[in-house]
Symmetry: C2
C-alpha cells in the first residue's frame, strides 16, 4: 500500500537519507543484556513502523525487516502482535508523561499558574510531534486499536490524565481560569487537538516550536479568567 516505507533496509535508508529508527544508546539509556537489546531493537522498530503506518497497515513483517530479523523470530521476544502494540503504547505514554514532569521541575517557583499551564501544554505538544516515534505511534494508534487495548491504555495514562485534571482544576479553584466551563471536556479537547497534530503536522510547513507556542497561547488565553 505504502511503497515508500515498505522496503526499509538500513542500507537503502542510508542511501536515500530517509529516517532510521533511533537506538536506545542514542537516547542515553543504559545498555543491557543481548536479549534486552534485541527486545529494545524490536520495540524501536515497532514504534517506527506504527508511527508511519498506523495500526491496520503495520505488518509484523515490516517490523521484523526494520529490526533486521525474520518475522518468526519476533515471537521469541513477544507473544503476539497485540503485546507488541501494547508495549509501544505504554512506552509512548511514559515518555510524554516523563517529558511533562521533567518540564515541571524546570519552571521557576513563583511562575503564575496560567503561565505554568501554557509552558506544559507547549511541552506536551512539542514532545508529541518532535521526532519521537513512540509518541507519534501512540497518537496514531489511539483511535485505531481494539477496545481492549484502549482500556489498557487509559489505565496506563491514568496518572498522566490526573496531572492535567489537577492543573486545570487548581487553575479554576484559584480563580486563574474561568469557572464557567466544563474542564473535563476542555481537557479532552486539548489533548485531542494535540494528539491529532500527528496526523497533519509536517516539519516542512514550519517549526514544531511555533505550532506549540501558538496553540498553548490560544488555549490559556481562551481559558484565563478575565475581569470583564
Amino acid at each position: 500500500m505504502d511503497e515508500a516505507a515498505q522496503q526499509t533496509s538500513p542500507a537503502k535508508r542510508a542511501r536515500k537519507g530517509a529516517p532510521r529508527p533511533p537506538r536506545r544508546a542514542e537516547r542515553g539509556e543504559t545498555p543491557a543484556s543481548k536479549s534486552e537489546q534485541t527486545r529494545a531493537r524490536i520495540l524501536d522498530a515497532a514504534a517506527f513502523v506504527f508511527a508511519r503506518k498506523g495500526y491496520s497497515d503495520a505488518r509484523l513483517s515490516d517490523i521484523a525487516r526494520t529490526a533486521r530479523m525474520q518475522t518468526g523470530s519476533l515471537y521469541y521476544h513477544f507473544a503476539s502482535r497485540e503485546e507488541l502494540v501494547a508495549e509501544v503504547m505504554r512506552a509512548g505514554v511514559e515518555q510524554v508523561h516523563a517529558a511533562v514532569r521533567a518540564r515541571m521541575e524546570t519552571i521557576p517557583e513563583g511562575t503564575p499558574e496560567v503561565e505554568r499551564l501554557r509552558l506544559l501544554l507547549e511541552c506536551h505538544l512539542l514532545t508529541l510531534i518532535d521526532e519521537n516515534d513512540y509518541t507519534r505511534a501512540i497518537s496514531r494508534l489511539l483511535g485505531q486499536v481494539p477496545p481492549r487495548l484502549q482500556l489498557q491504555h487509559s489505565a496506563n495514562g491514568r496518572q498522566f490524565m490526573a496531572l492535567w485534571r489537577g492543573l486545570l482544576r487548581e487553575g479554576q479553584a484559584s480563580g486563574a481560569l474561568r469557572a464557567d466551563v466544563d474542564m473535563s471536556a476542555i481537557r479532552m479537547l486539548l489533548l485531542g487537538a494535540m494528539s491529532w497534530s500527528i496526523v497533519w503536522f509536517k516539519p516542512e510547513n514550519g517549526p514544531a516550536e511555533l505550532v506549540a507556542r501558538d496553540f498553548a497561547r490560544m488555549a490559556v488565553d481562551g481559558l484565563r479568567a478575565r475581569p470583564d
Copy 2:
C-alpha cells in the same frame, strides 16, 4: 436515462477504470430506483459500522448483516471495500460542510466576526458528535485509512478547508483576531480537537451542546485580538 449506465456492475466499471455515473441523490433529486435505495441502505450500514468499529475492525460481513443482505451481494453495488469507505467519507465531509454552510445562512447580518466564528465552530463540533453516523465514521476513519484514501479525502474537503481558512484569515485581516499566530496550524489544531472528540465523547457525560459551547468560547477568546 442514466439507469442504463447502472446496469454495468461497479466491479466491471472499476476494472475498466471507467468513472461511475452520478446518482440522483447527489443531484438533489429523489432517489427512485430500487438499486439506488439499496445502495443508500448499504451506505447507511457502512457508516453505522465504521462509526462504531473504525477502519480495521469493520468487516464487510458486519456491513452486509446491518444492511440485511449477504456479503457477496454488496459487490453488485460497490466495487470494493475501499470504494465503500471512500463513499462514506465523501458523504461525511459533505454533511458537515452542509451543516456549517446552512448555519452561516442563519446568522444575522451585523453579527461581529468573532461571534460568527464562534457560532460556526460550535456548529461544526455539534454536527460531528451529535448522533450522525457519517460524521462519526469520518472522524474515526481519518487517521486510519491508507494514504490514498486520505488524499482523496483532502481533495473532497478542499472547499471546506477553504471555508475555515477564509474565516480565520479574514478575522486576522480585519483586526478581529490576533495577527501574531500561524492560522494554518491553528486551523488544523481546532479541526483536530473537534475530530478527536468522536473518540472520547459520550452523551452520558454531559450534553454535546455544552461541550461545543465551551470549546468554541475558549477558541475564539484565545484568538481574539485584545487591546492590552
